[in-house]
């Protein structure tokens, strides 16, 4: 009788213990999960910053992303490969690969080919009609000019992204080798 009477009590205790274990486990899981998520975002943003620091900041979009930072984000999220930046060249591709812990790859020529010393844009000032379209396209403010006045490129600020060429209605912009480098920098 006493044994029979004790059974339901034991069952209750057991069920309670089981519940507690499950709850604790769940709590632990959620804590772990939250922690993991937090480190993931923290790691992520610093990784994106490190990747962005390696990119040449031409904002040219040759990588098929809207700029250097979006490309850095895409690499960090595993959407893009490390060999899509032609202006950065082999050195940038290798550095990106190293940072991502992957085998360095040469730049894929499908994304475009850029000379080792990038060309800079040049405006034929006799043909320029002063439409300001190139100024709006330049991501790094390297073009000066005003509406219906001649425009010109600040050569040392030009990153050679070529974004100013398509909008020009009179085709007066072309890419040229940069002005001579100071002595000791050439070769």
């Amino acid at each position: 009788m006493s044994v029979l009477g004790a059974l339901p009590a034991m069952a209750t205790v057991l069920v309670a213990m089981l519940l507690m274990t499950i709850l604790a486990g769940l709590a632990m899981l959620s804590v772990l999960g939250a922690g993991r998520a937090a480190t993931q975002t923290g790691y992520d943003s610093s990784l994106v910053r490190q990747l962005d620091a390696l990119l040449p900041q031409t904002q040219c979009g040759r990588c098929t992303y809207a700029g250097c930072l979006p490309y850095a984000r895409a690499i960090a999220h595993g959407e893009a490969d490390t060999n899509q930046c032609p202006p950065g060249g082999a050195r940038t591709a290798a550095a990106l690969g190293r940072l991502m812990g992957r085998e360095p790859k040469p730049v894929d020529p499908a994304f475009g080919v850029v000379p080792a010393v990038p060309f800079v844009a040049w405006i034929d000032e006799t043909a320029c009609i002063g439409c300001t379209k190139c100024i709006q396209a330049c991501p790094v403010d390297a073009i000066v000019g005003a509406s219906r006045y001649m425009h010109t490129i600040i050569a040392e600020h030009c990153t050679g992204c070529e974004l100013c060429i398509p909008p020009c209605p009179v085709d007066c912009i072309e890419m040229r080798p940069p002005p001579a480098l100071p002595r000791g920098m050439s070769s």
Binding site: D52, L55, Q57, Q59, R91, V140, D141, A142, P182
Partner: protein, 514 residues
């Protein structure tokens, strides 16, 4: 500090020069080979028929030619202009051509040069003299020095005016220029006569024969930078130069100038090493001597400035040491710029049969010349016709045994063996971390390396690549800043535009917002 040192300067100027307390890290004790070229007194080199003047014989963008082929030019007439240092004709005559000619500073590719046929009459252009240097303001004086074509004659060929204009006297009040906090705005002048290169003796000869010019140049330079004291440093094994300088100083009786000597040790004459030894301050690796309040000039430069201000003679000649076992009569010559090196050799009696290699500059840091049909430029201090006795025999390169001797002698406190390792692998980031750009290319590591590794050669090859990479990352950072500023600006303009639209689109009857 300045008053005290002025007093000590007066006390010591008549006696033997004080020796500097500081000691350079590393370096080498090399056998001097100066007696050969200092036995004969200084004399002008004989004139030649044609003079070739490269337009890029100074550091910075090349000069623009101001003459045309066929034009008659006078001696001392401006033939090239640039911001830092102009170029003048060393003789009177006809401009034969402006064409690409091989030059010693660019052995890889010929450079644009002005070729002048000498008419032998030495007709001078009208002098600009008549104004003493005190009548110029410091700024005018610097601009005048640039017009005189003066560059650093110690071999660097950096435009002197540009260097002087970097001092606090001139940069104060200029926008975006930070003056280091620990510099009180007064610059000390250091005149360098330390020819640590074992073969060069042109500064020694200059002091022996033209010590007064050097002192006048020192006073002009002090005026140009507002300096209150000047230290002239020479090596302790140049007694005749010391004596000449001391007696000239006694004549001048300028208490602001003092003379000091340093032990003869290579490369004590290197700018950064010398500043450390004399003033006990280290020039930061990414800074310039002006950051620690010092301007360092070669004594030859000071003498050239004195001639320009006093006699109106721009930089059209310099002293060149022609020496080595491969030359018959080694000597120091006063040479017009643009003289073919072959003419100098002839002037010194020609080559000896032992002659094996032609070097411009010192035996440690100079460059080997392929032939002698090259012109003397502003940076040519010395021409060595070396025989096998002069050259250190080099056997084939062997692997690095990690002995560390190179680190012991490196005056820049670098680790050449580590640099060698990374240069070999082309690891630019590691080279930057190990301070490749601080290498002064003195060659001490080469000299002591038991494995005969041409270390400096590989460092020299790696430097342009690293400089390009550093420039690219600087450019990228600047581009990012401009890109972000542009995005902020566009966002602000967009917000303002929307606010204006919202203001226009007010409901009927609603009062116009103020």
């Amino acid at each position: 500090m300045s008053a005290a040192s002025a007093r000590t300067a007066r006390d010591t100027s008549l006696a033997a020069p004080r020796s500097a307390g500081g000691r350079m890290h590393g370096g080498l004790r090399l056998d001097a080979h100066k007696q050969r070229s200092t036995r004969r007194s200084l004399r002008p080199a004989s004139l030649s028929d044609t003079y070739v003047l490269p337009l890029d014989q100074h550091v910075g963008p090349p000069a623009t030619s101001r003459v045309r082929p066929g034009e008659y030019v006078l001696m001392g007439q401006v033939i090239g202009e640039t911001a830092g240092a102009w170029l003048h004709s060393p003789v009177s005559g006809i401009v034969k051509a402006i064409e690409l000619r091989p030059a010693a500073q660019h052995l890889g590719a010929p450079t644009l040069s002005i070729v002048i046929a000498n008419d032998g009459r030495d007709q001078r252009s009208e002098d600009e003299t008549g104004r003493s240097f005190e009548q110029y303001s410091p700024r005018e004086l610097c601009e005048h020095i640039a017009r005189g074509g003066i560059v650093g004659l110690g071999g660097g060929a950096f435009p002197t005016a540009s260097k002087l204009l970097g001092t606090p006297v001139h940069t104060r009040g200029v926008m975006n220029h930070e003056t280091p906090a620990d510099v009180d705005g007064v610059t000390r002048l250091l005149l360098n006569a330390v020819e640590c290169e074992p073969y060069i003796s042109c500064d020694d000869m200059l002091l022996r024969e033209h010590a007064r010019d050097v002192l006048l140049g020192a006073r002009i330079l002090m005026h140009a930078i507002g300096a209150e004291q000047c230290t002239i440093v020479l090596e302790d094994d140049t007694p005749q130069a010391q004596q000449a300088l001391c007696s000239a100083l006694a004549e001048t009786a300028d208490g602001r100038i003092r003379i000091m000597s340093v032990p003869s040790r290579y490369p004590a004459g290197s700018e950064r090493q010398l500043i450390d030894a004399i003033f006990g301050v280290e020039v930061p690796f990414d800074g310039l001597p002006t950051d620690v309040g010092v301007i360092c000039q070669n004594v030859g430069t000071a003498a050239a400035i004195a001639r320009w201000l006093r006699d109106g003679e721009p930089l059209i000649r310099r002293i060149v040491t022609v020496t080595g076992d491969g030359i018959m009569e080694p000597a120091n010559l006063e040479v017009r710029l643009g003289t073919p090196i072959a003419a100098l050799i002839e002037d010194c009696g020609g080559y000896t049969p032992r002659m094996s290699r032609l070097i411009m500059g010192g035996s440690m840091m100079g460059i080997a010349l392929p032939h002698d049909a090259l012109p003397v430029i502003k940076a040519s201090q010395c021409i060595i016709a070396a025989s096998t006795l002069d050259l250190q025999p080099r056997s084939t390169e062997m692997p690095c045994i990690r002995c560390g001797d190179c680190a012991q002698v490196c005056p820049a406190r670098l680790l050449p063996q580590q640099l060698h390792w990374h240069a070999h692998a082309g690891d630019l980031d590691a080279l930057e971390r190990h301070g490749l750009m601080d290498c002064i290319e003195c060659g001490c590591c080469d000299y002591v390396c038991p494995s005969q590794i041409p270390l400096v050669e590989s460092f020299r090859d790696s430097k342009p690549a690293l400089a390009r990479a550093q420039m690219q990352s600087r450019d990228a950072a600047a581009a990012r800043t401009r890109f972000e500023a542009r995005n902020t600006r566009l966002a602000r303009l967009e917000a303002e535009h929307r606010a204006r639209l919202a203001a226009k689109r007010r409901r009927p009857g609603e009062p116009r917002p103020e």
